[in-house]
Amino acid sequence: MHTEPEAANLAPPLIGGGKMPSDVTRDVCGPLERRPTGMWWLAFAGAASLLAIGIAAVWYQVATGIGTWGLNRTVGWGFDITNFVFWVGIGHAGTLISAVLLLFRQKWRTSINRSAEAMTIFAVICAGLYPVIHMGRPWLAFWVFPYPNFRGPLWVNWRSALLWDVFAIGTYFTISLVFWYVGMIPDLATLRDRSRGLRRKITGLFSLGWNGSARTWSRYEMACVLLASLATPLVVSVHSVVSTDFATSVVPGWHTTVLPPYFVIGAVFSGFAMVLMLMLIARRVMSFEDYITSAHIGAMCKVLVFTGSIVGLAYATELFTAWYSGSEYEMFAFSNRLRGPMGWAYAVMVLCNVVAPQLLWSRRIRNSLGLVFLITVLVNIGMWFERFVIIAGSLQRDYLPSAWSDYVPTSVEFGALIGGFGLFFTLFLLFCRFLPMISMFEVKTVLTDGHERAASESDARERSVA
């Protein structure tokens, strides 16, 4: 059936190892049905310890007050909002991979979309916690919602970008969760049909009686395309709205129209770096080398070079606009960003976000997993610093020199930062343990080799019987 020259013209298979559909089921479900490995326990213990540090820090801060942070009258937003913007950004790549690449019919996404979507949800959970902690009295967090109350009712201020955030993040979390869950129903049914006892009961409850009927598949695919079409503008809107928290203010360095696209592309960039980092770990720990191949890593590296270059362009645009505006305050804000007390942070940001990813132009570096991993870590550090430079750096020096102040984060703030990573990795590790990390049904659709082999093998068997 397959002749050599014909095969040579085709792109290399997306999934290695000549897998058949039943191999996919076994490879993905297998780790969930075995006891966790020592490596998993080690990682989980590490992540849970980080989370414990965060819980202790936040507990102390809530019990004592926001004064435990290094914030002051001038710098009202520091680590807290930096972490918020950072984590929202991390989430964006998940939606991009699952929704935008679905609409563009990029088949390589099938191996990584499930874990990227999970990452989105966990990152948005981390992001959402910081503004709530920042409120100081988190038990009054419901005040941000427009609910009928006995104060009039006094409604929320719909003209505030902070309120837009509530709706943007709320919708983003809900739609991402729905998209992730709907995308997992067929795989939960696969788990259900393989298991017994309590696991069968739980997966049976959540797989909603899925039976793989062609009529259901038809509607299901339509629903997925619709959800993807909704999620695509949503992801652009979410970080645009987050950027309006800054852009609609009058602080020099914040008050720019470039901020929405600047934030969105930065989000995609940092998110892709995080996905790539997690995939490099996961393929090793879970032995998914056949599913997350060097082709996948190469494709993600190319996205990183591309988005990293746009981020560089955004930095250049912002400097040019400050100079071209002729505004004394704008020019000062940016010269302060480069040469002020936080000039070192700006340097870290440019080195990590603009310079480091350029190394990925080289195929040799793209093929060296250690270096790729290092670059993804650098990008994550750089993107955290980008938000820190914009937020705390701009606030430190505003219009009135008499109001200038410096910002020194306290150990409590570092604790909250560490806790965010702890929460994220704890949730991700639990996901790896209990849910199918790779979308089995989608991977089965891209196993062209396997189908043809199954067909030709059974044809041959029939012929031999005849």
């Binding site: 929320v156 739609i175 049976g204 598949w217 619709l226 949503l234 989608e442």
Partner: protein, 172 residues
């Protein structure tokens, strides 16, 4: 699956498609087909109409947008007009972000809900799933009534297309 049906279990998507094509060309009623993943082109072959979820999504989104804009207008211009920075009470441009988010929220939730309702999927549902179709098998269910073909020929037809196993619904 209805009673009085003939089920065939296949191991390749091509065999299933060929069996569907022949069944339909001989005037048999294909009740349903089951597969571990969505099969490209099976809709046309089985005569499944294009899903109308797009309409649900559109009207759900429209409802979200209208409710969102109306509520923002009502709460800030009618119920308790409050002067915020001298901005107009009815600040339509400032209402658009929340309006957009609610469009997406309502559109997405109504689509997902419609999918579950229309496909009769609910938590804890116990359905009959042909063996292996969530792993690597494909099943075809053909109605045994409304056919001129003697029902004894149905298993023969399925086996000719490579069915591994053939049974009548109700036999097991």
């Amino acid at each position: 699956m209805t009673r009085l049906a003939q089920v065939g279990l296949f191991e390749a998507e091509e065999h299933l498609l060929a069996a569907i094509a022949e069944s339909r060309s001989r005037g048999l009623v294909v009740v349903d087909a089951y597969s571990p993943y969505p099969i490209h082109g099976i809709d046309e072959l089985m005569g499944i109409r294009r899903s109308r979820l797009t309409l649900v999504c559109f009207f759900g989104g429209l409802l979200g947008l209208s409710l969102g804009l109306w509520f923002q207008y009502w709460s800030s211009a009618t119920d308790w007009p409050l002067n915020v920075g001298g901005k107009p009470f009815d600040s339509l441009p400032a209402f658009m972000p929340v309006g957009f988010e609610l469009t997406v929220l309502f559109g997405g939730l109504s689509t997902a809900l419609a999918l579950l309702v229309r496909s009769r999927l609910w938590p804890g549902k116990r359905g009959s799933t042909p063996p292996g179709v969530t792993d690597d098998r494909f099943a075809l269910v053909i109605a045994r009534s409304n056919t001129d073909l003697p029902s004894s020929e149905l298993p023969e037809l399925l086996r000719r297309h490579g069915a591994l196993d053939v049974w009548r619904e109700g036999d097991r």
